[in-house]
């Protein structure tokens, strides 16, 4: 199980070929109270960089871009009725979806936890 982060403040937690995707603690704080999450459907296929979900807070609506290419295998249905889960537990219970990763090498462009920590420290 390895976690990777992107500069757009998304994370993907990889076990074998499956990646669990969400937004970072930093992102949920920046977005403020999250009121709605639009999720993809199981079976949808995305290429790296495609718009895959939308997260809406009282401040703004933001697109979530796919960090990797692959097929959606599961979505976090809990978010449909309780979007605030992303605020209370961004990097655990507030995950968005699981994706079957088709190309491992796409993970190489992402940061590890330490690298991301340094990255957000640089933003403040």
């Amino acid at each position: 199980m390895t976690i990777y982060y992107s500069e757009d403040h998304e994370w993907v937690n990889v076990t074998d070929k499956t990646g669990t995707v969400g937004i970072s603690e930093y992102a949920q704080k920046a977005l403020g109270d999250i009121v709605f999450v639009e999720l993809p459907e199981v079976g949808d296929e995305f290429s790296k960089g495609d718009e895959v979900a939308v997260v809406e807070s009282v401040k703004a609506a933001s697109e979530i871009y796919s960090l990797v290419s692959g097929e959606i295998t599961e979505v976090n249905g809990e978010l449909e009725t309780n979007a605030s889960l992303v605020n209370s537990s961004a990097e655990e219970d507030g995950w968005f979806f699981k994706i079957e990763i088709s190309d491992d090498s796409e993970l190489d462009d992402l940061m590890d936890a330490d690298g991301y920590k340094k990255f957000i420290a640089g933003l403040e």
């Binding site: 109270d33 809406e56 009282v58 401040k59 979007a83 605030s84």
Partner: protein
């Protein structure tokens, strides 16, 4: 003999009353009356009008009669009248005070406009009347079109778009039609980061991909970045001038040349035309299409007070693609062209009829009462007022960019750093001071934006009062009076609303009180 029975008139009586802070029976605080929803005032068993019972009624609806009560409350005319009048007293309006909503140009709506708009020959007419009976109205439209073309230096105008964003749609549809006519379909529209949200939305609605152009540290479009993004697949650039930072885009001629060089078109968002009307003609800047918000620059009521109107001026290149219908001035009479000429290139029809007639009459009344010299003074005074606000506040607030502004002054939230007060809190505290807040958190290119547009309507006394109020609030924030901001508004009919709960658990239908 001296009459001692009259009512007391002096302050002595009020002083002797000495009763403060009590709860009234009705919940009213004097003239500030609480108001229920209309469903809660009336009663579904009551009716506001007495009609005789119908006897021997035979239905002809063939079984489609309503089988339940409709459930609407019956109110008498005075009940209904009072309900809406009371609600209107809780609202803020340009007729009540300075309305500094940046990029919205909330200027005074002169009463002369209203008088003219109510002339029977202009108001009591119908779009389907015979053309011969509405010649005066068509003359108004044609004269207004002439003024718009003259003020913008553009050869053509289409009057039918109903608002600014509708005008943007019209302009982009004309651009798309012009490209299609050349067999040169393109897929990208460029908008600056500081653009009104409607610009990228319009482009997306027209099927274009939107690419954002970054701003320079000066708050203007980064010309070099724009040139890099331009290419054979770019249909248009959409630029607002002056832009939403309240700054004139000095390199606008270079932008126009650059987009024309790659075969694209230049759409100008005319939302901020008030700053340059009578001073700068967009046609001279290389603009191909621009909407004009009659409800901003030309003083027709808006923002809950009335509909918008967004005529679009077009360059020679785009004019053939303008939508129908349009007014044609013949030798003897005006006509409305409802169908494109044989072999014509109009992209079609956007509205059933010919635009917002009531706004046309008001806008033309405004133009003619000001004259072209008066309209230039409008631009001058709007810029003067905004710069007076900027100069009077920049020592205590943080102006986002150096130098003078155009018609609106942009501040960001650096001056609130470490006070615990956010732009939102500050805006809410302005409500307690009796003002409509400025535009906040827009444009997105600065942090915690506060965009103030006083317009030319305000006297120096009025702007001074506003400046004094703002300085007072800044001092309170810096003095640590946090509570005053975090819970504001305290004096409004409704207190701070829970936006999160409203978005997470919206109640979209009226529910009877338990």
């Amino acid at each position: 003999m001296l009459n001692k029975q009259g009512r007391p008139t002096g302050n002595e009586a009020a002083a002797n009353a000495g009763n403060t802070g009590f709860q009234s029976y009705t919940g009213a605080k004097g003239l500030d009356q609480p108001e229920l929803l209309i469903y809660e005032i009336g009663n579904t068993n009551h009716t506001g009008v007495d009609l005789p019972e119908v006897e021997d009624f035979e239905t002809r609806l063939g079984g489609l009669e309503r089988d339940q009560e409709i459930g609407l409350a019956g109110l008498s005319e005075p009940e209904a009248m009072r309900h809406y009048t009371r609600l209107s007293r809780k609202n803020y309006a340009i007729d009540m005070g300075l309305y500094p909503l940046g990029s919205c140009t909330m200027k005074h709506n002169p009463r002369l406009n209203e008088k003219v708009a109510r002339f029977a020959g202009l108001s009591d007419i119908h779009p389907l009347q015979p053309i011969s009976t509405v010649q005066g109205a068509l003359d108004v439209i044609d004269t207004l079109a002439h003024w718009l073309k003259t003020l913008t230096g553009m050869p053509a105008v289409t009057m039918s778009p109903k608002a600014g964003a509708h005008g943007e749609l019209c302009g982009l549809m004309a651009i798309r039609a012009a490209l299609a006519a050349k067999g040169d379909e393109r897929s990208i529209v460029l908008t600056p980061e500081s653009a009104h949200g409607t610009n990228p939305a319009t482009a997306a609605l027209c099927g274009y991909k939107v690419k954002a152009i970054p701003a320079t540290t000066e708050g203007r479009v980064d010309l070099e970045a724009m040139k890099e993004a331009l290419g054979p697949d770019v249909a248009a650039i959409m630029v607002t001038n002056p832009n939403t930072c309240g700054l004139f885009e000095r390199e606008i001629l270079e932008m126009a040349d650059a987009v024309h060089a790659v075969g694209g078109y230049f759409y100008c968002d005319g939302a901020n035309f008030n700053a340059i009307v009578g001073k700068v003609r967009p046609g001279d800047l290389g603009v191909d299409a621009m909407h004009i918000n009659l409800h901003k620059t030309f003083s027709t009521p808006h923002g809950g007070g009335g509909p918008g109107a967004g005529p679009v001026v077009l360059s020679e290149a785009l004019a053939p693609f303008a939508p129908i219908p349009y007014v044609l001035a013949g030798d003897d009479a005006f006509d409305i062209v409802e169908h494109d000429v044989e072999g014509g290139q109009s992209f079609g029809r956007m509205t059933a009829f010919h635009g917002q007639m009531g706004m046309f009459t008001r806008a033309l009344a405004y133009m003619m009462s000001h004259g072209s010299d008066g309209l230039a003074r409008v631009a001058e005074d709007s810029v003067l007022n905004a710069n007076y606000v900027l100069a009077s506040l920049k020592d205590v607030m943080s102006a986002s960019f150096d130098g003078p502004c155009m018609h609106e002054a942009l501040f960001d939230d650096r001056f609130l750093k470490d006070t615990g007060v956010s732009t939102l809190d500050f805006a809410k505290a302005m409500i307690d001071e009796g003002y409509h807040p400025m535009t906040m958190y827009f444009p997105l290119v600065v942090h915690g934006a506060m965009l103030i547009e006083p317009t030319e309507s305000e006297s120096k006394q009025s702007v001074d009062q506003f400046i004094g109020m703002m300085r007072h609030l800044v001092k309170a924030a810096k003095d640590g009076e946090l509570e005053r901001f975090s819970g504001a508004p305290y004096n409004a009919p409704l207190k701070r609303l829970d936006e999160t709960a409203a978005a997470r658990d919206p109640i979209l239908r009226w529910q009877a009180p338990e």
